[in-house]
Subunit: 433 residues, 2 copies
């Protein structure tokens, strides 16, 4: 049997861990035979030394193998899913899952909650009265079969090793490691049983990966891992230097998503959603025009059916915050910047996000971006609307926004929200497509 | 209040921790407010990033400040002590402490037990019937006042942070870090209250630091730390490529130490002991000839008084192992090598050492080096005598020795056991001497 201290020292000293060593480490940690203090030391050694492609494959295998794997092979439609590394105002899933389902795919989106300055898809949907995030595996399959898409919480049975490791990384300064991030994301997505997957890797101040080079490495690492595990996987790198759309919060993002499904969405949100939909349908082998499905109301119908199937009332009014304040322009000109991270932190401080995973979130708090970069402003014009359940929260939210807004004499260059594409068949990959 | 995760991330990313941060970390960890898994991640980050001189000073300060500091200022004799990083057959303390005391210094040697292939001074002395390692602080001062030297266990009140950190490092692959080793050793020695200190940093296969460069860095680091804390500190680097003297074990090393105190010691042990004694007396400001004190029986008298003062009977027969085997020469020639580590591991496997700190050790097991490098051998001549309580232990001990012995056609070059001296007033140090 391997020895935990020997394996920590080996990784620390730059040696390669064997598949057997890695399988033992993850399994022994999951069942409690390796102590947290040993695993955190190993994770820090991995932070410094990395994992090579083979080690990462074995690590991800072991995380998947720590729990069950959903069997979606009985569905008649091809399965496809999307994962975003998280951004500010990123309500793409709410539009994308029903849109792609309405084009003929089955979208099994097992999702998470928000932490810190980025929101979580489940938190947003929970602002809809009656909607349930927790479904049994049988319910997931039933909703996929009848509606074509489901957005729900990943059950405790999927990749339990990841749940335990993520909680440990969160308190030990070992989150920011590309192999650990990649294996965490991909183990859950592979265990979820999707046949194909598109990764939306966000880049910029509001993203987990602020710089393009790291985001590209993460995307390439995950694309390789997915394809190595038999899931057709590609990635888009998309801008996260300003909020996506105009709404940042929970209920306010659901409203904006529904408006988008009605054909009244903000241009950047529509562009990112259609780019991801096109990629998902390509991987799923479906020829369809997602733009048409968005325009003709098919995507909206799928959304309403999905919400209803999960106990929600798509016609129920959403909660509205009792208090609002505005941030106004100090000068006239063109808005040149609206820092995504600052707006995310402001929404978090207003109550839309949580600092610890057990904290509650406010359904109605958030920020509405009344003006976005590229639009003209008058001095004194309201730029942001802040909403909160508790007016005491405005002051700290405003503080987060102090340097967030840029106003200049000229409009900024328009920028495509999609930066790069990392295709499924990357270098060195043999794909049976 | 600082945040543990922020400090882990800061050190991980190569930032400097402030004195206040370090003081908080050590104090909060000692009282249980920082979890083991956070501290082990931080220790691994320190392994990779190191601590600069200021951080190390603060870290050591905090470890000292976690407990009490012995007050030896009431003694009339100047205090001086020695610390060895540990070697095979290293019974120097048993000769050195009474020798230096017999020259007029007070030697408060708070010592430890052996772990792995190197023996511990307390384990050796405990083979003497009646001898007690645990003394109260008052008893320590009384023995120092009446005898001039004491060798005893460091009480729980001295540097408790180090005890907790060392136990954590032992299971998390974070032992082999020069700043962590230096702060661990020096915090205990500074808390012990000695005014001066000589470090015996061993170099070679049987040492903790096998290479000269690392040993030199460790020595320089500790010398700087000691002088920075007001303890006049210097270091000798000494060879540990073969066992020191001929006996390796517990009772067998006491016997060899007593023989040395009678003037019948092996040349290498005498040379290292006198070099360390000279250095200790120099730091203590005492003009004396330790060679004369060894030759005329004064050192032996101090030894007998010390053993008696701690409940031991210096005339009681020591335990003898019931089983013995010899390892013989496969060819004639000159012994060119006798690997210290291999002999240490063999003695450990015979029962003289422990794998875990709660394991018992055999008083009588060990290895006697009948021939040492530089001596001629006949084919079939006994080279090593192995001693054990349980004859089942011989096989694994012999396996450890398989490649330990070198025999060649010519005698090896004689080598000085002392390699280098690191003086107290090193570069950049301002010493009030």
């Amino acid at each position: 049997m391997p020895d935990a201290v020997e394996l920590i020292r080996a990784k620390r000293d730059g040696a390669r861990l064997s598949d057997g060593d890695i399988g033992w480490l993850i399994a022994a940690y999951t069942r409690g035979d390796i102590a947290d203090e040993q695993m955190s030391a190993l994770l820090m050694a991995v932070y410094f030394r990395g994992l090579d492609a083979g080690e990462l494959q074995a690590w991800t295998d072991a995380m998947i193998g720590s729990g069950e794997r959903l069997d979606l092979t009985g569905l008649s439609a091809p399965t496809t899913d999307k994962h975003s590394t998280g951004g500010v105002g990123d309500k793409v899933s709410l539009v994308l899952a029903p849109l792609v389902a309405s084009c003929g795919a089955a979208v099994p989106q097992l999702s998470g909650r928000g932490l810190g300055h980025t929101g979580g898809t489940l938190d947003k949907l929970e602002s809809i009265p009656g909607w349930r995030a927790r479904l049994s595996n049988d319910e997931i399959v039933t909703v996929l079969r009848t509606v074509g898409c489901v957005i729900c919480a990943a059950g405790d049975g999927l990749a339990p090793a990841d749940r335990k490791l993520y909680a440990l990384r969160d308190v030990t300064g070992t989150v920011e490691s590309i192999p650990l991030i990649a294996s965490s994301i991909m183990s859950k997505k592979i265990a979820e049983g999707t046949s194909s997957l598109v990764l939306d890797v966000k880049v910029g101040s509001g993203a987990f990966m602020p710089d393009l080079a790291s985001a590209r490495t993460l995307a390439q690492t995950m694309v390789r891992l997915g394809n190595g595990h038999g899931v057709r996987t590609s990635a888009l790198l998309s801008r996260m230097d300003m909020p996506l759309g105009r709404a940042v919060g929970n209920a306010v993002e659901v409203e904006e998503a529904v408006a988008t499904l009605r054909g009244e969405g903000p241009a950047d949100l529509v562009a990112v959603t259609l780019a991801l939909a096109t990629e998902m349908l390509r991987l799923a082998g479906i020829t369809a025009d997602p733009g048409a499905a968005l325009a003709d109301g098919r995507a909206l119908s799928s959304y309403r059916a999905m919400i209803t199937a999960q106990g929600g009332d798509p016609d129920a009014p959403l909660p509205v915050a009792p208090h609002a304040e505005v941030v106004t322009a100090e000068q006239a000109g063109w808005m040149t910047a609206l820092d995504a991270r600052a707006v995310g932190v402001a929404a978090w401080r207003l109550g839309a996000g949580r600092a610890r995973k057990e904290d509650p979130v406010s359904a109605s708090a958030g920020v509405i971006c009344l003006v976005k970069p590229g639009e003209p402003v008058e001095a004194g014009q309201p730029l942001l609307e802040l909403r909160a359940d508790d007016p005491a929260r405005f002051e700290r939210a405003r503080a987060a926004l102090a340097a967030a807004i840029g106003i200049g004499p000229h409009p900024p260059e328009p920028a495509d929200p999609i930066l790069e594409r990392v295709p499924a068949g990357g270098p060195g990959l043999e794909l049976a497509s």
